[in-house]
């Protein structure tokens, strides 16, 4: 699914990277915990989040994510947008809640981008 389709589906505003909307999104994850994004996602995915700090951009950079979509109408500050721009990570913002935004994308065929292996947090539990 192209990022441009996601933008239309979620009625999202493009905060930066309008020139990169033709990027193909292979999967997505919704998380406010960057630790979980770093631990559980595959590369080339879209991140839906309600967090707007610089660590979100850093996490996307380290995890090779394709784009970030802020939910609940959240918008990061200008320094965060500027950093995303230099890293060529498009930023979008939708007024929809996390659950609804994820649900709409999933319903339209966009799969999750979690790692296939068993989450290691479960392995340590009895």
């Amino acid at each position: 699914m192209k990022l441009a389709q996601i933008r239309i589906m979620l009625d999202a505003e493009v905060l930066c990277g309008i020139e990169w909307l033709d990027r193909e999104i292979k999967g997505a994850c919704g998380a406010d915990l960057m630790s979980d994004v770093l631990a559980y996602t595959k590369e080339h995915g879209l991140l839906l989040t309600g967090l707007t700090n610089i660590q979100v951009i850093r996490t996307a950079e380290m995890s090779d994510l394709v784009a970030i979509l802020f939910v609940r109408g959240k918008r990061p500050g200008p320094e965060v947008v500027a950093m995303a721009e230099t890293m060529e990570i498009p930023l979008l913002s939708t007024k929809k809640q996390m659950y609804e935004a994820c649900g709409l994308l999933y319903q339209d065929g966009l799969a999750g981008c979690t790692l296939k292996e068993e989450p290691f947090c479960c392995r340590n539990k009895e």
């Binding site: 989040t49 660590q55 850093r58 950079e61 995890s63 340590n124």
Partner: protein, 141 residues
């Protein structure tokens, strides 16, 4: 790539959240310029970033050093700080001592150390209470 390797070193300061990730970002870019495989770079970058965040969250100051050879990258993260009183417990996924303001930033979920173990080929941790913690990691290219 030179046989003796390329060495990158960065100083990390406690609570410097605006700069958090800069060292890992520079390490990542260097690896990209050297033509290391993207999936390998991703594992190195994630390990470096998790370690960098740990120093900034928990320690007083620290140093992150990357030595890049043709067949491997070695990461050493050495900090001065409170140390870890129970390393075995800290290695368990989900265990964290991070305060609420760190969790609000999206970190401190207790996934950092287990994630580093998973992303690296060799992982060693040495910690002394009230002195500091040293992580040594190797990722083969």
């Amino acid at each position: 790539m030179p046989e003796q390797g390329i060495e990158l070193e960065f100083v990390l300061e406690a609570a410097d959240f605006d700069s958090a990730g800069e060292a890992s970002s520079k390490i990542k870019r260097t690896l990209q310029q050297l033509g290391v495989r993207p999936d390998v770079i991703r594992r190195i970058a994630i390990s470096a970033y998790e370690a960098e965040m740990n120093v900034i969250i928990h320690a007083c100051r620290g140093v992150i050093r990357a030595e890049i050879y043709s067949d491997r990258t070695e990461l050493v993260v050495d900090d001065e700080g409170p140390g870890i009183s129970d390393v075995k417990l800290a290695m368990q996924a989900g265990y964290s001592t991070a305060p609420d303001h760190i969790r609000e930033m999206g970190f401190g979920a207790g996934m950092g150390l287990p994630n580093m173990v998973r992303c690296t080929d060799k992982f060693d941790i040495k910690s002394e209470k009230n002195v500091g913690t040293k992580l040594s990691m190797i990722i083969y290219h």
